[in-house]
């Protein structure tokens, strides 16, 4: 990585997101437009000001339309502009903003719109029908695995290797569903949820229970990225993207370290080096790690080098990761509390870090003064992570 090749600093100046829910009526294009328009309005820009558009959306099989990027183009504001679609499964939520970042950091474009959309309610009988085709067709698929079983094995491996208690993992679901209460887009907020509710919820594939997972959802999110050359035309207090990183582990998921996400640690080190961060635990104030399952928040905090292996569970038990704790984690409410329309979780990762740093998070604003935050997403065949460090200078 040659940091000298990065020509322009890049800032986020606006973000938008739709309600996350099963949205049978709206089309994916309509949701994309709603989120994109919100982001442009917050930035004080119109579509004419935008030089290029990046779209993020997970596999075509969810919406049931091939070339989903081109299909969503007009709702995402891409008509007659340089446009590209990227996807890395769930990791798209943070990887699409990274793609938007390099459009601006390269010096090619001054103002770029990044839109992420997912409509998982189209696929019948369930999104698992589409997920079934991410496996190796000869070795895995004849055994008919589904995602929950695979994650259950990863969760068990994590618990076994680092001696983590299920009760501490389940506390993540309680925290995030409560945090989401202040979020206007939340699907899964629950102000009264208790640890017993999670522990006693229906077993899916043990150790995973129903309330350990965020279910399928529909929605869209967007951000506006601008170059240092024009940023002060749009805001007096920019939120800068200071570091980006991404990395993939082997597709043979059986051959990975299932307890510790090494690929994430590599992605995080890349982002930290770019951001000039030497000691992430001291220099980062809060985090939005990807939390489609409660154990993933813990594993991702450890992969982000913000906790030692197994330590994130103890931090959770001690309340340190609460919104008013010493190191807030998922103050948005996360995927467990707000919802999980795969790529559209941009709004609760990059979007939330932006709103927190711009002090626009309203009832979700963390108590302590935060200057540096990290957003992370995870995806593809559970092998990919994207990391973005953002800062108010």
């Amino acid at each position: 990585m040659d940091l000298k090749k990065i020509r322009k600093d890049v800032a986020v100046v606006g973000a938008g997101m739709t309600v996350f829910a099963r949205r049978l009526q709206e089309t994916g294009k309509e949701m994309s437009w709603e989120a994109a328009k919100m982001a442009l309005d917050e930035a004080g820009l119109t579509l004419k000001d935008i030089d290029a558009v990046v779209l993020g959306s997970a596999p075509d099989a969810f919406d049931g339309v091939h070339k989903k990027g081109e299909w969503l183009l007009d709702g995402a504001g891409g008509t007659n502009k340089p446009f590209m679609r990227v996807y890395t499964g769930g990791g798209t939520a943070v990887f699409a903003p990274i793609a938007g970042w390099w459009h601006v950091a390269s010096g090619m474009f001054k103002r770029v719109l990044v839109v992420c959309e997912e409509k998982m309610s189209s696929v019948q009988p369930h999104a698992q029908s589409a997920f079934a085709h991410i496996w190796d067709p000869i070795l895995d698929r004849p055994l008919r695995p589904n995602l929950v079983w695979i994650f259950a094995m990863e969760m068990q491996r994590y618990m076994h290797k680092y001696n983590v208690r299920y009760e501490d993992i389940a506390l993540v679901a309680v925290k995030n569903k409560r945090n989401a209460v202040g979020h206007p887009c939340a699907q899964l907020a629950d102000p009264t949820i208790t640890l017993d509710d999670v522990i006693n919820s229906e077993p899916m594939a043990l150790p995973v229970r129903r309330l350990d997972i965020s279910p399928p959802s529909d929605g869209a999110s967007a951000i506006v990225l601008v170059s240092e050359d024009v940023v002060y035309e749009h805001t007096d207090s920019p939120v800068w993207i200071e570091g980006v990183g991404w990395c993939l582990d082997t597709t043979m998921w059986t051959n990975r370290d299932l307890a510790f996400p090494k690929f994430l640690a590599r992605a995080a080190k890349m982002a930290y080096e770019m951001a000039g961060i030497k000691n992430p635990r001291k220099e980062i104030d809060f985090a939005e790690p990807y939390d489609p399952f409660d154990y993933k928040e813990l594993q991702h905090l450890e992969g982000l080098l913000l906790a030692d292996p197994g330590e994130a569970a103890i931090m959770t038990r001690e309340g340190k990761t609460q919104r008013d704790g010493e190191f807030p984690v998922c103050p948005s409410g996360g995927l467990l509390g707000v919802g999980n329309p795969i790529a559209a979780t941009l709004g609760i990762k990059i979007g939330e870090v932006y709103w927190q740093l711009a002090r626009k998070a309203g009832p979700r604003q963390v108590k302590k003064d935060v200057r540096t935050g990290v957003a992370q997403a995870w995806g593809d065949l559970m092998q990919f992570s994207a990391v973005v460090v953002m800062r108010r200078r």
């Binding site: 049978l24 709206e26 294009k29 328009k37 007009d74 709702g75 007659n80 019948q124 589409a130």
Partner: protein, 156 residues
């Protein structure tokens, strides 16, 4: 491998498909207005963007060029003209279509986006760009709120 295999199924293989059971596609907010008006009123609706002076047929809730929210729906009438057409003689499996099927883009006037549909009650050799046509709808009792509630467009 230098042996030539004529039939793909002669090699060791695993049969699979990439399909879900099915999909639910929804028409969206503007699409709902379009199909309800077509079914109940026999109208073909468009949505107008005043800033761009462009009318989308079928309507949309946003203008893709300026991102304005579109709230002005109007009945485009049933009369339009042919912008482009083709006469299809074979279906996708290679079977001959008898009679041939005629597809056309129909414009409802200047500064409107054309609608894809079929032509009927017409001699293929008489079709030309600019041909004036009108929509033929199913009887009201048979209409379901689908694009096929319009049977075809015919010369007028």
């Amino acid at each position: 491998m230098i042996e030539r295999i004529e039939k793909a199924t002669e090699i060791r293989h695993w049969l699979g498909d990439m399909e879900a059971d099915h999909y639910y596609y929804s028409s969206g907010i503007a699409g709902e207005k379009f199909f309800v008006a077509l079914r109940d009123e026999g109208q073909i609706l468009g949505a107008h963007c005043a800033a761009c002076n462009l009318t989308y047929v079928p309507p949309r809730i946003y203008c893709e060029h300026c991102f304005a929210e579109l709230t002005e729906y109007k009945d485009m009438g049933k009369r339009g003209c042919v912008v482009a057409f083709t006469i299809a003689h074979y279906d996708k499996a290679g079977h001959r279509l008898e009679p041939p099927e005629i597809f056309a883009l129909i414009s409802f006037g200047p500064c409107t986006t054309p609608l894809l549909h079929r032509l009927g009650e017409v001699e293929p050799e008489k079709i030309c760009v600019g041909l004036e046509v009108e929509a033929v709808l199913k009887p009201k009792k048979d209409r379901e709120g689908k694009i096929t509630d319009i049977l075809y467009f015919r010369p007028r």
